[in-house]
Symmetry: C2
Subunit: 404 residues, 2 copies
Amino acid sequence: MGEVIASYRIDADDIKVAARAIAMEQSTGTWTKVSTATQEIHEKYGAKVVEVDEEAKVAKIAFPVEDFSLEIGGIPNILSIIAGNLFGLREVRAVKLLDVEFPREIVTFFQGPNFGIEGVRKLVGTSQTKRPHVGTIIKPKIGLPPERFAEVAYEAAMGGLDFIKDDETLANQDFCPLEDRVSRTMEALDRAKEETGKTCLYAVNVTSEDIVETAQLAVDNGANCLMIDVLTCGFPGLRALNRNFKLPIHVHRTMHGAITRMKNHGIAMLVFAKLVRLAGGDQLHVGCAMGKMESENFQANYNALRSEWYGLKPVFPVCSGGVHPGYVEGNVRAGGTDIVIQAGGGVHGHPLGTRAGAKAMMQAVEAVMKGIPLEEYAKEHEELRLALEKWGTQQITRYYSEEM
Amino acid sequence: MGEVIASYRIDADDIKVAARAIAMEQSTGTWTKVSTATQEIHEKYGAKVVEVDEEAKVAKIAFPVEDFSLEIGGIPNILSIIAGNLFGLREVRAVKLLDVEFPREIVTFFQGPNFGIEGVRKLVGTSQTKRPHVGTIIKPKIGLPPERFAEVAYEAAMGGLDFIKDDETLANQDFCPLEDRVSRTMEALDRAKEETGKTCLYAVNVTSEDIVETAQLAVDNGANCLMIDVLTCGFPGLRALNRNFKLPIHVHRTMHGAITRMKNHGIAMLVFAKLVRLAGGDQLHVGCAMGKMESENFQANYNALRSEWYGLKPVFPVCSGGVHPGYVEGNVRAGGTDIVIQAGGGVHGHPLGTRAGAKAMMQAVEAVMKGIPLEEYAKEHEELRLALEKWGTQQITRYYSEEM
C-alpha cells in the first residue's frame, strides 16, 4: 500500500526531534506512553520521518494510506491528519506544511474536475484557439442592485469576455438577492450572446451553509457556472457541488493569506491547490506573475493544477487581483495560455467604462497570441491604448511573496 | 441598523493607510477607481475605520450589517468579509484579526447551542453539583479495532468519566469502521451505566464530506453526542449538525494552530470561539491554564463562550491537551467549574490503566470541589496518588502562547 508524503519546514531547536513529534502526534502517538497502544499499532499505522534536510530545515513524513478515511472523512480527514494539531506542538516554534504527495489510490479515489480546462474551453468555444480565457469580477464588490449588476454583466459580455463572476463577499444580501441577480444576469448574457455569438460564463457565488440548496437556486435561475469560497466554506461544499451539479466550478481562495502568507508557519497554497483538484474545482485562484497578488510560487501551483496526475483533469489556474491589460503579456509569458486572466478594477476602471475595459483586455490577449507587442497593437486599438495610458505595462507594486 | 466591529493588529508602515485599505478591500473598494461604483454605494455599504491605536497597532473597522448575507451565506460569508482577502494586502506586512463584535440582530439570527452547558449537565446529571465535567479521548488516536475501542470506552466509563470521544483523525478507517465502533461502544457504555448508574456521553467524530449522512449513521447506531473538526470541515458542517440533530455537539479545533499561533498574523482563537457559539457548538476546545496546549488567552475565549450574549446558551469550554490529574486544580482555579477537563494520555497513561486513570481524574475533581489539596486527598485515593507520582502537579512545559 502507498503512503502520503507531507513536507514540513520546521523552526525548532532540533528538527529531527520535532519531525518525530509531528509524526507521532499526527498518527498513533501522544505526549505520554499509554497502556492501550500496542507495538503492532505503532508499526502498522505510525507515520515515519523519511527524510530530514537540516540545512533547508525541511522534513518529509510518510503517513500510511491506511491512516486515511476517504469515503467517510474525505478532504477534512486528510487535513486533520497532515495539517492538524502539529501546528501547536511545543517541539516547534513554527512549522509550514509545504507540499503533499498522494499515492495513486488516493488521487483516483477522488474524481477531480468534471470539466477541467478542456471542458471549460468547450463551453466557451476556445478549444481551437487555446488562448487564455479572460474574465471579470463584477465591481463594486457589493452594493449594485440586480438590474445594475446585470447591465454591467451585459457590458462585459459585449466587450467579448469569456467569463464573469460575483465577488467573494457577495451572496444574497438584501441589496442584491441571488435569484433576482442570477435571472437578470443570465437574461442579459443571453441577449449579449445573440449579438456576439459567444458564450459568457457567469460564476454565481453559492458559498453558503446549505450549498446544494443555494446552488440549486442558482441553477433554477439559469446559472451556467458556480463559485465557492473554498476556505471559508470548507472542502465538503466543493465536493458537494462537484457531485451534484454538471456545471463548471470556479474556486476562490479568500482567507488563504491568513494561512499561506507567512514564510515559516501555516500551509502553502500548493497544498490547497492539490486538494482543490482532488475535490473537483475546475478553476482556481492561485496567484500570478504580474498583479497586486503576485506569488513567487505561482509556478508550482500551476504545475499542480495542470500536470498529469493519474488521469485527473487539469484545473484552469486563475490569474487575478490587480490585473489590467498591461499585465496580460507578462502573465501569459510566465503562465502559458492555459490560464484564466481576470481583471475587476482593470476592466471597470477603464476610462471609457466596462465594455471598453473588456475590449482592452481581449485586445491585449489578441496581441499576445499574435506575437505583437502591446504598444504596437495599441496603435490601432483605441481601448487598449487608453488602458495602457492609464495603467502602463510595468509591474509597480509587488503584493506579497509567499516564500517557500 | 447595527455594525460588525472587527479588530485587527496591523504590521505596516502606516497603520491608518493600511486600515483604510482593509476597510475598502473588504467592502466596496478595489485597487483602482471603477466606473460602476457610486458615492451612494460607498456611503451605504462601505466599511469604516472607527478607531486606530497607533501604539498597540490595533485598528477597529466597522462593517454595516447590510454587508452580510446571513440566511444564504451564514458563517462562511462572515469569514469572507471580516477575514477574507485582507491578509494578502500589499499595504500590510502582516495582520491579525484579534476580535469581532456582532450586533444583536446577527447574534440572534443564529440559534446558538441547542444544549449549552446546562443542557449537557442535564444529560450527564451534574446540574446540582455543578462540578467540572471530565472526559477522555480514546487513545491511541488511531489503530484500535472496534471491540478494543469499546473495551477502553467501558473502562473509562467504569472509572466514572462523564464523556469520551474519538480523536480528531479517527473517522471510518478500515481498522475501525464507524458503525461497528459506535454500536459496540454505545453497548459498552450502556453496560457501564447499568453498573454505575451514570450516563457517559460518547462524541462520535462525524467530520466528513456528507456530515448529515455520517451523523445519521452514528445516531442510527446509538450515538448520544456528535463531534466535528470545525476548521478542517467548515462551519456549514457544524450548522448542519446543529439544525438536524438533537444531540450535543463537541467541537474540535484541529488545524487552528496554523491560523492562530503567530502573534502578528492570522486569526485569533477568540474569533473562532464566537463563531462556534453562533453556529451552535455545545463544547469547544479553547485552550486552558495548564497542559501541553496552554494559551495565554484562554480566559478571553472562556468569556466569549460563557458570557451573556443576547440570550444564546453558553458553550462548555474544553480544557484539553496534555492534561492529567495534577493539572486539574490549576485548570479549575483559572477556568472555574463550568469546564470540561479532558485527558487522553493523562487517563490511558496511568500506571494501572484506563479505569484507574479515569478514577484518578475524578478524584482530583472531587478534591478540588471539596477544597482539599490534591496531595492530601491522594493519601486516601490510590489512583490519584499513582497519577501524581507519575506526572506531578507542576506545569513543566509550556506548549505555546498565542499572544494577543
